[in-house]
């Protein structure tokens, strides 16, 4: 019986001009956004690799100079996009992918692309993820709003029930029919997407990227199933198709567009983002204070250790060690401020995570960003790796100064006489970002995954309950 109903639904929709038009439009949008995203990905990847290679070459080939000069010139590092960025750019446009690793201060990502874009971006970047999160649920609603309510309006529901068909079998049959027609349209796109991600990924990341792509397809399938059962449940509850449609459209509009924004704005009221001037001003003050106190304490410690009165009397040059001590002091200050800032972001984002209880779209969006490697946590991981690279660089240069400073008639020359050369520059390893694995990326979102599972269960139970109460009236 289930297969008969499923076949009937399948045939009906495959002949429905409205569905064919909507499905074709959704597919075209998916295809166009994927193709343009693909092109953009190839451009960005080539640019990032080229720029990183060029800057590192400049670093290696720089003229002999004081190592601290070299630290000030610094070296740029870039985040190479992952193939799945074609699907979902996540926060990438709002944070940027290039960081200057230099002296003294921790680098911040520069040039977020969003700053260079027009206000149109605020309508949403048309990407496969946007199509899947916004358009596909609408397609599911279009397919299912009249599943039971339409039968009721046409009087065929009473006939079906009167011949003893179990309403649950109808639910299974209708959901299988709708799922089949959606799968016919979307599954090839999903499989092609997994294939594309696998072929574009670097060999060492291919397995992880393929797994992420597969999970992404599963995630969106999961989401569409939630919407499907919800829609079928609403359709079974409503007396008319128009009421079912109105309820579902409002649900869609509110949960996809309004609630996620509102949640983040409310979270900002409970956990306000620090004001730029206060935060950076305080960091600057603390940094200078820590530098002054740290330098004084370090100097005292060395003088006591070597039992001399002036740093000039130390058996080695003080400059390199002083710089290293200053850098280590700055690391501690930055770590504290980084934690403070990201803790606030985390608390704000928890609202969105728990908001999944109100809207599955919030959870889907978070998991989609996590799987494509463009969520806040993986961005933080990237900046952390970059900072560790900067520390390696500065330690290398400071150690060189300590080891090579010369003493002349005037004492230790702490200005420009030490010069690093190509051997020193080449000893700095290139920066290679090591992205987290799919499982590591998903681990912080256990609550979200649990809530989405709850949604599926709740939607299914709702649909079952609603159909079990079906009557022809």
């Amino acid at each position: 019986m289930i297969s008969v109903i499923a076949r009937k639904e399948f045939t009906e929709f495959s002949r429905d001009g409205r569905f064919r038009l909507a499905a074709a439009l959704a597919l075209v949008l998916l295809l166009v956004s994927s193709l343009l995203g693909w092109r953009n990905y190839l451009d960005l990847q080539a640019q990032a690799e080229e720029a990183a290679e060029h800057d590192y070459r400049r670093w290696r080939q720089q003229d002999p100079k004081h190592p601290h000069d070299a630290a000030h010139n610094g070296v740029y590092v870039f985040k190479t996009p992952r193939p799945l960025a074609i699907v979902d750019g996540g926060i990438e446009p709002y944070v940027g992918a290039s960081i200057m690793n230099g002296a003294h201060l921790q680098g911040e990502a520069e040039f977020p692309p969003a700053q260079d874009m027009t206000a149109l971006q605020r309508f949403g970047d048309l990407s496969p993820a946007l199509a899947a999160q916004v358009l596909l649920p609408l397609l599911v609603i279009l397919l299912s709003f009249s599943a039971f309510a339409g039968e009721r309006e046409q009087g065929t529901l009473r006939q079906l029930l009167s011949i003893g068909i179990n309403p649950r079998l109808m639910l299974w049959g209708k959901s299988a029919g709708i799922a089949a027609i959606l799968a016919l349209v979307l599954l090839p796109a999903g499989i092609a997407g997994i294939g594309l991600a696998a072929s574009l990924a670097a060999p060492e990341l291919r397995l992880d990227e393929t797994m992420r792509a597969g999970l992404l397809v599963l995630l969106y399938g999961f989401y569409l199933l939630i919407i499907l059962f919800l829609s079928l449940g609403v359709s079974a509850c409503c007396r008319s198709a128009r009421t079912a449609l109105a309820i579902l459209l409002v649900f869609w509009g509110v949960t996809v567009f309004a609630i996620p924004r509102a949640l983040l704005d409310i979270s900002g009221q409970f956990y306000p983002t620090p004001v730029n001037t206060e935060f950076w001003g305080k960091l600057e003050t603390d940094l200078w204070k820590a530098w002054e106190e740290g330098a004084e304490a370090f100097k005292k410690k060395l003088l006591a250790q070597y039992q001399v009165e002036k740093v000039e009397d130390l058996p080695f040059d003080y400059t390199g060690r002083d710089m290293q001590n200053g850098d280590e002091t700055a690391w501690r200050v930055y770590e504290g401020y980084d934690k403070q800032r990201y803790d606030i972001y985390d608390q704000q984002n928890h609202f969105l995570e728990w908001g999944t209880l109100m809207t599955p779209a919030a959870g889907v969006s978070l998991l989609s960003m996590a799987l494509t490697g463009n969520d806040l946590l993986q961005y933080r991981d990237f900046t952390r790796q970059v900072e560790l690279h900067r520390r390696t660089m500065n330690t290398l240069l400071n150690d060189y100064i300590s080891a090579h400073q010369q003493k002349n008639a005037d004492g230790w020359d702490n200005s420009v006489s030490v010069k690093g050369d190509i051997t020193l520059w080449q000893s700095l390893p290139t920066f290679v970002y090591q992205p987290a694995s799919a499982w590591t990326a998903l681990r912080p979102y256990r609550v979200v995954i649990a809530m989405l599972s709850f949604w599926l269960l709740a939607a299914f139970s709702f649909a079952c309950t609603a159909v079990s109460r079906l009557s022809g009236r």
Binding site: A51, D63, Y94, S98, A241, D265, T273, W280
Partner: protein, 490 residues
């Protein structure tokens, strides 16, 4: 039955329309919540601007005071670069201790939208040497949670652009079709007035009351929060925005009217309106955004970084040869000898600074040109979607958009060049008797005034009202056939 009687009848009917009141109230709450969010953002911005402007003023007064005190005490002239840097009697020292933060002021009605302003810093440090010097740039990075930037703010503009059409869709999608489906259309047709007049009045009553219930509390809330709205400029800006909002809402009511006139089922009407909304508010702006990125791609920032680093490498080499970058970054360690005196050092630094700017100029010009192309593209194609027109106009009026930011950056650039032109000749022949304080060029921000925008405002009004009239006109024309189609329905 006269028009007034029909109006009263529809008003009486509306009193019992629970869907209308529920939607209107919910929507009003969303608008007020949006306004509160926007106001909070505007307050934060203003606090930041006030802080920096006060700081700049304090710096100026302190520098003047310090210079006067040094003169009164006949303090000796500076004998090295670090001393000159710290001595406000010198042009170099005065400029260095008096670097100003220049701030972008938004309009008094900025609370209506956050717009693009959450992507930019409200204030920039500008000196004769640089705009947003390296350390300042790092220390004033935007701190907003990237997730909030991605999702956007729940401000009044968002509610109007995105949620208002949904509210109107719910209010209008079944005004005629439900009459048909409930079998009451024939009763309606028995009235002495044509059905289309009744339906048109129904739409009109709903539109007028909905807008009144929406815009009056909003205006009151804005008025009570924003004191400066008492100014004529602010009031005019608000009125222009109010008219644009009303036209945007009327466009969606007109869509609803047209969709009803097609004499299809309620479900089809709902789907068509939802499809229209999706097309105009989500798909079209998204496609245009994709299109403009393909047609007028801004030069990649990565390539820009790469090119800038390559271009400055020669300058950097000269810099290292002449001064050592180490000494540029640590002028306190410059040892002034007979070979390197302070004036030589400063003159060389200025020459290198000019050279660096010259090398970087082509890249920056290409970047600005392409951004301008993008803005022109959006400006030309905004008429494709009323949502884009409304968004652009709102950002223009509130000063929270990219145009305002660009005008501010241009004014900042101009100020920087005027500072250079004023200070550099003085740096070259500096002495401890710098006193031309009145000659220091002031920052001249020139935000576009409303009078300069009239042609754009009129075209935007036309862009909103012409399609609205078109939909309403076609709907009016099509509704002539309603009574004939009743037979088919039966």
């Amino acid at each position: 039955m006269g028009k007034y009687a029909l109006f009263l009848l529809e008003c009486r009917q509306l009193r019992f329309d629970r869907v209308f009141w529920a939607v209107t109230l919910t929507f009003l709450l969303a608008v007020l919540f949006g306004l509160a969010n926007g106001q909070r953002w505007a307050d934060e911005q203003n606090a930041q601007i006030n802080y920096f402007e006060q700081q700049s003023l304090d710096k100026y007064q302190n520098s003047r005071k310090q210079a006067d005190e040094l003169r009164q005490h006949n303090a000796p002239a500076a004998d090295n670069l670090a001393a000159r840097n710290a001595d406000p009697r010198y042009a170099l020292g005065f400029e260095g201790s008096n670097v100003q933060h220049i701030c972008r002021h938004s309009s008094a009605i900025a609370a209506l939208t956050v717009g693009q302003s959450d992507l930019y810093n409200a204030c920039i440090l500008v000196s004769a040497w640089a705009i947003g010097g390296g350390y300042d740039e790092r220390l004033h990075r935007n701190l907003e949670n990237p997730m909030r930037l991605l999702f956007g703010r729940f401000d009044t503009a968002f509610v109007m652009i995105t949620l208002l059409p949904i509210a109107i869709l719910i209010l209008s999608y079944n005004q005629l079709s439900s009459e048909r489906e409930q079998g009451t259309l024939s009763l309606l047709a028995c009235q002495p007035l044509a059905v289309r007049r009744i339906i048109a009045m129904r739409f009109m009553v709903r539109a007028v009351i909905f807008l009144l219930l929406l815009l009056l509390p909003l205006s009151l809330a804005l008025w009570s929060n924003t004191v400066s709205l008492n100014h004529a400029t602010a009031l005019n800006e608000y009125l222009v925005w109010l008219i644009a909002t009303a036209l945007y809402a009327l466009f969606w009511f007109a869509c609803g009217f047209w969709v009803n006139a097609r004499s299809k089922s309620t479900a089809e009407n709902g789907l068509l309106l939802a499809g229209l909304w999706l097309l105009l508010v989500v798909v079209l702006p998204g496609c245009l955004n994709l299109g403009l990125k393909q047609l007028y791609p801004v030069p990649s920032r990565m390539e820009f970084i790469d090119a800038s680093r390559a271009a400055t490498i020669d300058v950097g080499k000269r810099k290292t040869e002449l001064l050592g970058k180490y000494l540029i970054d640590h002028p306190d360690r410059v040892k002034m000898t007979k070979q390197v005196n302070v004036d030589d050092f400063i003159q060389t630094r200025m020459a290198i600074d000019d050279e660096t700017k010259r090398v970087l100029a082509p890249g920056l010009t290409a970047f600005s040109a392409q951004q301008q192309q993008q803005r022109n593209f959006v400006g030309r194609l905004r008429f494709l979607s009323p949502a884009i027109i409304y968004q652009q106009l709102t950002q223009l009026l509130t000063g929270q958009g990219q145009d305002r930011q660009q005008a501010f950056l241009d004014a900042t650039d101009d100020y920087h060049h005027r500072l250079r032109a004023f200070y550099f000749p003085r740096f070259a022949q500096d002495s401890p008797d710098f006193s031309d304080y009145n000659g220091i060029p002031p920052f001249q921000d020139q935000p576009v005034t409303l009078s300069e925008l009239w042609s754009k405002i009129i075209s935007d009004y036309l862009g909103l009202s012409v399609p609205a009239l078109l939909f309403a006109g076609v709907g009016w024309w099509r509704m002539r056939q309603v009574s004939i189609q009743m037979d088919d329905v039966r």
